[in-house]
Symmetry: C2
Subunit: 331 residues, 2 copies
């Protein structure tokens, strides 16, 4: 731990959350600011759901189910079960999807009881006029999370995946409901250009000694954050050491659909493919031992490379990876 070291981190879903659970073990939590993707936020059952913020909070508060990656460990689903029964009887739940199978349009996204309590408290904060930044700050304090957690924006930004067949899907629909089967041609971030950045977010990036891009999907977890002009500029001009960790190991995503998305959008499915997307935005690129052979090509992009075991099976693994990242900070 380097006393006084100021750290900022971008964050998307599970990969980021795991990394951060390790990072807070090796930096002073109060000197860490996390800026989280809100492009996958969604209205569900009248509530404002923030999948990435919650995944980060649940990991940082040790409430998470590490293996499953989302939600809370030991979760129960009382309300969800009642809701599903009622919705089905209301004729609400059944709708034809493209495969011709009858599916329930909402039940594919189950909300656990404890998770629902988070959503209800957020809903209440938003309802009385707090911003998403303020609501998030209250939630993270309630969960005992000591580092600052900011949404990337207080105004809605919507990640939209345009399929090769011309459909526009949001991430949860693509990821959860369609089982990532669609070929995606393009991803766009509606509202990013005019987004109202969370107060303190650009300043945190601009004043950090270390800015981290954890191993998350570059196209849908990190790209929406970088699509917000002020945040992209802050990242491009950040005077601290900027370190990204590759989410692609041995040509595959460890979690989620990053590999399929990269391929369908014409990117090379490798740490090199990801490094190309971060060109000009990071100084150091951390790759897995299995990808050591890509080191030369990545360094040719103008980044230093660090090779290590990047797999996070536990918070201890994540802390080890975070230490490796910390070691790259240039005084």
């Amino acid at each position: 731990m380097i006393p006084g070291l100021k750290v900022a981190s971008l964050a998307g879903g599970v990969g980021s959350a795991r990394f951060l659970a390790g990072l807070v073990r090796v930096v002073e939590p109060e000197s860490l600011t996390v800026v989280v993707n809100t492009g996958d936020d969604e209205r569900l059952r009248g509530l404002h759901i923030c999948p990435d913020i919650d995944t980060v909070l649940y990991h940082l508060s040790n409430l998470c189910d590490w293996d499953r990656g989302w939600g809370v460990a030991g979760e129960t689903f009382s309300v969800n079960d009642h809701y599903r029964d009622l919705a089905i009887r209301a004729g609400d739940a059944i709708q034809e999807d493209r495969t011709g199978k009858e599916v329930d349009v909402h039940e594919w996204f189950a909300l656990g009881d404890r998770d629902l309590a988070t959503h209800l408290l957020r809903a209440r904060f938003l309802d009385v006029g707090l911003s998403l930044t303020e609501a998030t700050d209250r939630l993270r304090r309630a969960m005992g999370v000591e580092c600052r957690v900011l949404p990337m924006s207080d105004t809605p930004v919507r990640t939209v995946l345009l399929t090769q067949s011309g459909e526009a899907l949001d991430f949860q629909e693509y990821f959860v409901r369609r089982g990532q089967r669609e070929e995606v041609a393009r991803v766009s971030f509606v509202g990013a250009a005019e987004a109202r950045v969370a107060p303190g977010a650009t300043e945190a990036v601009a004043s950090a000694d270390l800015v981290v891009v954890p191993p998350s999907n570059p196209l849908i977890s990190i790209a929406p954050i970088l699509a917000v002009p002020a945040l992209r500029e802050a990242m491009a001009g950040a005077p601290g050491t900027r370190v990204a960790v590759s989410p692609i190991v041995g040509g595959r995503a460890l979690k989620g659909p990053a590999d399929r998305l990269l391929a369908s959008m014409g990117h090379e499915v490798s740490a090199l493919g990801v490094a190309r997307m971060y060109r000009g935005l990071v100084d150091v690129f951390v790759i897995d031992e299995r990808d050591a052979g890509l080191s030369g090509e990545i360094e040719a992009l103008g980044m230093r490379t660090v090779v290590c075991d990047t797999i996070m099976r536990s918070a201890e693994d994540a802390a080890r990876l975070a230490k490796t990242v910390l070691a790259e900070v240039r005084p």
Copy 2:
């Protein structure tokens, strides 16, 4: 059961819901329309809560806890417990209200898991743009309720109790949180004058052979409905037989704060006091055996009186009372 008899009923909380649970046993449910008070609706945890509509639906679907009067029998409170823990840790339970006093704005109103499923499905319906009338209709079908249940208004009407010390309280705050201790000087119904009446509500009253005012609080359950001009006019001009049942028996309210409210607002706390409020709006007033002595004075107001046992200990009792009401219909 009189085939083809068209019945309309106003409805507030528990007394109304109990009466209706009996009424549907003695009329054809599909020829009954219930118009429910929405003056106590409220935003809670980002959700739109309709206490009276839900009490009516839970009674008509036999989901209710008859003795407790509100909520669902065998209810669990998983989410509520998690919410409370989180809210307390968020420092949320304490907040400045408009009067500058620190109050716990939410924790006094517990939402059960099954009840919450109702609120979430309603929230979803409203969120996708359905009116409260449409949302209520879907919910009642989902619960297997065969009669038509309408909110009195699709636009917000807010029952506000002005205390003698000058405070403005909503009903849930007065009733649940303050334990009905305040002296109330006046009740007003904000938004009633310009309310958008639920489609079909005035027509149901105007075309019914029988219009019932069940034994509910005249000041805060029935008055808000009658404060909506179109509904008051429909009631005043209804050609069917209009029958009200007294919620005051032996000088006391059987349930709720009607007696205390009547007294603090200067009304006589008796069936006669209630009858005075309904003058010109009802043809028949049903009073309990214990109040038989008031018959003459009530008839002097221009109503017939019917004396019977009005206490509803069960749905069977309620059906018996409903039968007595039905017998008053003039062909």
